[in-house]
């Protein structure tokens, strides 16, 4: 069997040349393929990105984090009591750690100068460990601080204090609202991960002992409790245990318990919505584009009957002609596919901006985009190529 490679090489050169000549038609056919492939790219990319996002969530927080909130904490409604929130970990074996939070908001001043504005969070030591917060100096607040006016500042607040001339932040006095606090610790910078169940916003915040939070928060009720389930405990069992324990303590409490697993599931559902949308847009435009390509190829075959006949007279077999036209349509769809990859990555980037997921380029999506493009070229080019291969060379030679 003589090498097939020279034939394929010659076919590819021929294909590029003849496509370049039919510019307008080619451009129109490319658009459909381009949109189709870009949807494939976006679909696969988002799948990968969501997976990566979930992986990071596992890494940052673990899947054992639970968020316990009361459904309403406005005046008159029930709130979680501090004793219950703290007692949760000891009373319920499925819970390893529990950290309640009282949330306020305020302006921070140091030496008469404003150094920030943000959350004032009344917490216990468990809050820092569950949320993986680390200190660059000093210590975190704890229950042992009771209602004393100690505070731990976020990295951005500390920076602002340094700009105002503070040397050692620990030991400085910070005005929170109009109450004076002594700084006992400084946090490391902590990038916020919006995929996590708890929004901490550590950098712009000031953390105070939960017992002192009542002095600075407008609503001194416990807003939420972050908990970590014990190792080896199924999160559903932990949720059930928490509910039954709180029911025993305060039967009227309306609890909302969110788990990391549920958040991941939510994200996956969101991802699947995109995938479905993109999948249908993608397959419709692939079909439309593919029919366009098929049309281009049929016109091309009709226009080149004489060329085909000459090639047959010179010894081309039917399969040589067929592969020539198949290569041509694959080159066409691959060109559309390359443009589609660019468009698809741009669309993915935009969706990531919208959802707050972190954009990344997945090699898998590029590969599947190119694969789909090539497959579309073969599929929609098949009929025209077959037609070309079956043309009668004698009629073609007589055609003028």
């Amino acid at each position: 069997m003589p090498g097939i490679l020279p034939i394929l090489g010659a076919n590819a050169r021929q294909a590029v040349d003849s496509l370049a000549r039919a510019r307008l038609r080619t451009a129109l056919g490319l658009v459909g393929i381009m949109i189709g492939i870009s949807s494939v790219i976006a679909m696969v990319s988002l799948g990968e990105i969501a997976k990566e996002q979930a992986r990071r969530q596992f890494e940052a927080l673990g899947t054992d984090v639970l968020l316990v909130r009361t459904l309403t904490t406005m005046a008159g409604s029930q709130a979680i009591s501090l004793a219950d929130a703290i007692g949760l970990a000891e009373a319920v074996p499925a819970v390893a750690e529990a950290a309640p939070r009282i949330l306020g908001h305020g302006e921070f001043r140091h030496a008469g100068r404003k150094v920030g504005q943000g959350r004032v969070q009344g917490v216990t030591a468990a809050f820092a460990s569950i949320n993986r917060m680390s200190l660059q100096a000093g210590r975190f607040v704890s229950l042992l601080d009771a209602d004393r006016h100690f505070c731990v500042v976020g990295a951005a607040v500390a920076d602002a204090m340094r700009q105002g001339g503070a040397r050692r932040i620990v030991g400085e006095t910070l005005e929170v609202g109009d109450i004076l606090f002594t700084v006992v610790g400084v946090l490391d910078p902590r990038p916020e991960n919006y995929a996590l169940p708890v929004q901490v916003e550590a950098d712009q915040s000031v953390f105070v002992p939960i017992g002192a939070a009542g002095r600075v928060a407008d609503n001194p009720a416990i807003e939420l409790a972050v908990a970590r389930s014990s190792a080896g405990v199924d999160y559903r069992a932990a949720v059930a245990d928490i509910r039954s324990w709180f029911r025993g303590r305060s039967p009227d409490l309306q609890l909302d318990i969110i788990t990391a697993k549920e958040l991941i599931a939510q994200m996956e559902a969101q991802m699947q919505t995109f995938a479905l949308l993109l999948g249908s847009v993608g397959s419709i435009s692939l079909v439309v584009g593919g029919i366009g390509i098929m049309n281009i190829m049929l016109v091309s075959v009709a226009e080149r009957r004489r060329e085909i006949a000459i090639r047959r007279a010179l010894g081309a077999r039917r399969r040589d002609i067929q592969s020539q036209f198949l290569i041509e349509s694959v080159i066409l769809t691959l060109a559309g596919g390359l443009l589609g990859i660019l468009l698809g990555l741009a669309a993915t980037w935009a969706i990531c901006r919208f959802t707050g997921w972190e954009f990344l380029i997945s090699g898998m999506s590029v590969a599947s985009g190119l694969g789909t493009a090539a497959a579309a070229g073969l599929f929609f080019g098949f009929q025209p190529a077959r037609q070309a291969a079956r043309l009668d060379p004698i009629a073609g030679l007589q055609a003028e």
Binding site: G3, L5, P6, E307, A313, G315, R317, R319, I394
Partner: protein, 244 residues
Amino acid sequence: MTAPRGALRLIDVRKSYRVGPVTTEVLRGVDLEIGAGDLVSIMGPSGSGKTTLMNIVGLLDRPSTGRHVLDGRDVSGLGDDALSRLRNAHVGFVFQAFHLLPRLTAAENVCVPLVYRGTGRRKALGRARAILERVGMGDRLEHRPDQLSGGQKQRVAIARALVGLPALLLADEPTGALDADTADETMGLLLELNAEQGVTVLIITHDPAVARCCTRRMRIDGGQLHEEDSRPPGSAGSTAPRRA
């Protein structure tokens, strides 16, 4: 290969076309025997079946009935792929309308038969250059057909027909689209190549002057082929109508 290449026999070949309800028999029992290295002309009125016959001889078309023997091998029953391979290896076509591929350069046109037998591009281009030089087109390798004159196009076409070293060169009115001087030059080239390379040449023509250059002359009429007076081979070269 020891058997002479380029010998062929047609035995009682018939070809009929059916258009609607009417069946027309174009070839009605053609017998033809051509030896390796023969230089044969076929004349006949328009529509007499010359091109039909050539297509059958060149394995592009199949007879309705009858046998076709090429160098002692019956090729009547071969399939399409086998016929294509044989055409590629065995036959070179030269057409009245040149039939060069318009988008390819002269050299690339000449490469096409080699590409279909799997020759690499570089090697094929080398062979193409050599044969284009032989037909006097060595300085037009990169020209496209629309940049060539009629005579030049036909030289490229002859080069393409011969690049694969076929045993059989089939020319259907090769000078039909050329002026008298160019026609003479083209015929001269075909005669030279026949003498030089021993390739069997079959020329279809309307021009008695072209026919006179050939060692064997045939006429087709009424669907049948008759040989006219034959001259002994060997006296052909001296009568080449080459005008210097």
